[in-house]
């Protein structure tokens, strides 16, 4: 009871000062400016288009703008020290708790403002509760993590750096911390920036709820814990308190070791750069040995794939047993070269039921056939492979990926053995997928529990899943983010775009962005992909 009374008094002391200070106005002004910038960025096709994913994708901006004043505020509270409180029997623990409580109240207002803006947009966009909750989890986690980390860093600077180096040293440290943690000028999300969000995203999968995101957040929580504990331990420097030091010191060391483990994990999980290209670009670069270029078979290679039968397992990895019927259209085919993303490890290749030798070559593989195949002969081949797919392009723009709650496989990306030609192929794909989200494709499909089956003919196959849903509008089936497919203007714009390509399809997929819209020579026949930036 006494402790609570003292903490209340100290919180009142700090809050009253903050309320009448200049920092509150600086924080408020920068936050409002940030929100105004966020709203200004919500333009689509030249008109204002309010959307939750757009808000989330730029939500780092107002938080980054207030980072320095928030750190300074925390630093000021951290260095706040008055001997008269100690003489009044206010313990160090009560003083620290009051500082943390003060910061929690102030940060609570920022979090509350962020949530209010999100809810307001949710109402305006008329999205479903399920969609709203899914999108908002990352936004709220990011905000809480940001505020928590800033508080602990600010307090640490105030309690230690300002104490030993002085206030100027503290301010310089704040600026350095800002430069390291901010999202400005950073395109990839590894350990920094603090807000794990794609700075140059499309509207799809803005915050990736994956293992890397989890590790990132736990890492920063542990760093905050360490920063809060270190000044605490420093207070037990006197001989008589050494015993009290052991437990927190042990906790700090453990947390530090765990941080190293998480940091290493995050680094290893970083996306791989994938240089997606068009056929003509790839052919030009073929002699320059540019290993990142997409694989395209030469037009006169002498064979093509007529039929695919796949048994696909999707979780955080892609595993596939892909049976193919390859038709020979020339004479004297001794080997086949097909594209397959280099990170997908081939475990076995069978030709006519017998294991065949193969050689890996960047994003393709070459199989030596047991005999020479003549014109119109059919080669039955089975390729078993598995691996992780997590690719990005310039500026950290996410491309193709597979996770247990979302994935995107499309266009010329070699997620299955392919020639990237423009012939029609017959697909029969069985998918086992552990995620709760529905899978959509250009092919016709049906689902049962965690099993999906897609069948049909097309030039390529697209598979997409995530926090998306479908809507029937003007005889078209729209699949994509709710606020976009629920907006008639947006749907009309997509219909116009589909008609402009002379595409008579009635299925429109609002997908993640692919550089240059598509790298395929000819579009899909059964769906129109409309990437949203």
């Amino acid at each position: 009871m006494n402790t609570l009374r003292k903490i209340n008094a100290l919180v009142k002391y700090e809050i009253t000062n903050f309320r009448r200070g200049k920092l509150i106005w600086v924080i408020a002004a920068l936050y409002i400016f940030g929100i105004q910038q966020v709203i200004s960025s919500m333009h689509l096709g030249g008109r204002l288009f309010l959307s939750i994913v757009q808000l989330i994708s730029v939500s780092w901006l107002p938080l980054n703008l207030i980072m320095v004043p928030i750190l300074l505020l925390c630093m000021n509270i951290g260095q706040s020290h008055n001997d008269i409180f100690k003489v009044m029997d206010v313990s160090d623990r009560e003083i620290r708790l009051s500082k943390i409580a003060t910061l929690s109240i102030i940060q609570g207002f920022v979090l509350f403002s962020n949530i209010i803006i999100l809810v307001a947009l949710g109402v305006i966009c008329k999205v479903s509760i399920r969609y709203f909750l899914y999108q908002s989890i990352g936004y709220i986690i990011n905000t809480i993590l940001f505020l928590l980390v800033c508080s602990s860093i600010g307090l640490f600077i105030g309690e230690t750096i300002c104490k030993y180096i002085g206030e100027v040293g503290g301010v310089i440290t704040v600026i350095l911390v800002f430069l390291i943690l901010c999202n400005f000028y950073k395109t990839s999300n590894v350990i920094v920036p603090l807000i794990n969000i794609r700075t140059f995203p499309g509207v799809f999968d803005v915050i990736s709820y994956d293992k890397s995101y989890l590790y990132h957040n736990i890492l920063w929580l542990l760093i905050s814990f360490i920063l809060l504990m270190v000044p605490n331990v420093c207070q037990y420097r006197k001989k008589e308190s050494r015993k009290n030091k052991l437990l927190p010191m042990g906790a700090i060391v453990l947390a530090g070791i765990f941080c190293i483990y998480l940091g290493r994990g995050i680094y290893l999980m970083r996306p791989s750069f994938y240089q997606i290209g068009k056929k003509n670009e790839a052919m030009e670069n073929k002699n320059s040995n540019n290993k990142y270029d997409t694989f395209f078979a030469e037009s006169n290679c002498g064979y093509y794939v007529d039929k695919y039968t796949m048994n696909l397992h999707l979780n955080n990895k892609l595993k596939n047993d892909c049976e193919m019927e390859v038709k020979v259209k020339g004479s004297g085919v001794n080997s086949l070269e097909l594209g397959l993303y280099e990170k997908l490890k081939i475990s076995k290749i069978e030709v006519e039921g017998k294991e065949a030798n193969f050689k890996r070559n960047n994003h393709s593989f070459i199989v030596n056939l047991p005999r020479e195949y003549k014109n119109d002969e059919l080669i039955n081949m089975k390729v078993s492979y598995e691996g992780e797919i997590n690719t990005n392009w310039f500026q950290g723009q996410k491309l193709f990926y597979v996770r247990n709650n979302s994935f995107f496989l499309a266009d010329v990306f070699e997620w299955y053995p392919k020639l990237n030609d423009s012939t029609d192929k017959e697909y029969s794909i069985n998918i086992k997928y552990v995620g709760k989200t529905k899978i959509y494709s250009n092919l016709n499909g049906e689902s049962q529990a965690e099993q999906y089956k897609f069948q049909g003919k097309d030039k390529e196959v697209v598979l997409i899943s995530g926090n998306i849903s479908e809507r029937k509008y003007k005889d078209y089936l729209f699949i994509g983010n709710e606020e976009y497919i629920n907006n008639d203007n947006e749907c009309d714009a997509s219909i116009d775009a589909a008609r402009a390509t002379n595409n008579s399809v009635k299925k429109i997929l609002l997908t993640p962005s692919i550089p240059g819209t598509t790298k395929m020579d000819k579009p899909y026949e059964k769906a129109f992909l409309h990437p949203l930036n």
Binding site: R5, T16, R20, D83, I84, K86, V87, V90
Partner: protein, 295 residues
């Protein structure tokens, strides 16, 4: 009657002895603690305000043991540090109410009445509802005194209360001591001897961690009375007396110097005995040991 008893107090910073076997007992009134920088005043003060824990020795405040009854002792202490500061965006009354809430386990109404009484007593009504940033140095120091009085402590410890104040503000602070020392022990550290002359009844003089004097200020002067002389001397005589380290002050003119020096006997034929004031007494006390003159 309130009583502070200190017995054999020692304190070390690592291997450095900051306080050596300090013992004294004081009762109600203003007690001045005098001493040069590094004498151990601040260390003693931090121990008496419980900011440092006692390493060896005993301290009792009205039978409350500093080691055993720390919480009770703290309820009976008011402390005004030299660098007293607070958030200047607060109003004086708000600050006092916060201190009241921290120090007293009373309801809001009682705290408010108690604080109103202190404000009235120290004549702060005129500016107490202004923001502290609008206060002058003297007003801020007065606010410090007001917070010290919250909870009606038995012991008030004040560190260098007049440092950095102009003469008028210094006077304003000096006048507070009779008010705050009523039925209390007030320990004041200062290096301004004039302050001691103005409001202290009892003196503790420290040097190099030791207590070199405890007693009344009259006795402090009387102990060294008759040891101070003045004389006009030529340069050779001045050098001779200076070498023994006994010269207190020197006024130079073209042919001779007018000096004050410490000695049991006159060192020049025309030396005249000088009446010792507190300032002189402080210097004589602090030099006696080093120059080998016995009282």
């Amino acid at each position: 009657m309130n009583n502070l008893k200190v017995s054999n107090l020692n304190y070390k910073y690592g291997n450095v002895e900051a306080l050596k076997d300090i013992s004294f007992e004081v009762k109600e009134g203003v007690v001045g603690i005098l001493g040069p920088n590094g004498a151990g005043k601040t260390t003693a003060l931090k121990l008496l305000t419980t900011l440092f824990s006692i390493q060896s020795g005993e301290v009792f405040l009205n039978d409350l043991n500093y080691k055993k009854n720390l919480k009770e002792v703290r309820k009976n202490i008011g402390y005004l540090p030299q660098d007293f500061s607070t958030y200047e965006n607060l109003k004086g009354r708000e600050f006092l109410e916060i201190i009241g809430s921290l120090k007293l386990d009373w309801n809001k109404k009682n705290i408010k009445e108690h604080i109103d009484g202190i404000i009235e007593n120290l004549d702060m009504n005129e500016y107490i509802d202004r923001k502290i940033k609008q206060y002058s140095g003297g007003m801020k120091q007065k606010l410090g005194f007001a917070q010290v009085l919250i909870g009606d402590p038995s012991l008030i410890v004040v560190d260098e209360p007049t440092v950095g104040l102009d003469p008028e503000q210094r006077n304003m602070i000096r006048e507070l001591f009779p008010v705050i020392s009523k039925n209390r022990i007030v320990l004041v550290t200062t290096h301004i001897v004039e302050d001691i002359e103005y409001y202290c009844n009892y003196l503790l003089v420290m040097k190099s961690g030791e207590l070199i004097y405890k007693g009344t200020k009259e006795n402090f002067i009387n102990e060294v009375d008759g040891l101070l002389w003045e004389s006009d001397v030529d340069i050779d005589t001045l050098n001779k007396i200076s070498a023994s380290g006994t010269v207190l002050t020197t006024l130079n003119s073209s042919n001779y110097s007018h000096i004050k020096y410490i000695s049991k006997e006159p060192l020049t034929p025309d030396s005249i005995k000088v009446k010792v004031n507190l300032q002189d007494a402080y210097i004589i006390h602090s030099r006696l040991k080093s120059i080998g003159v016995k009282k």
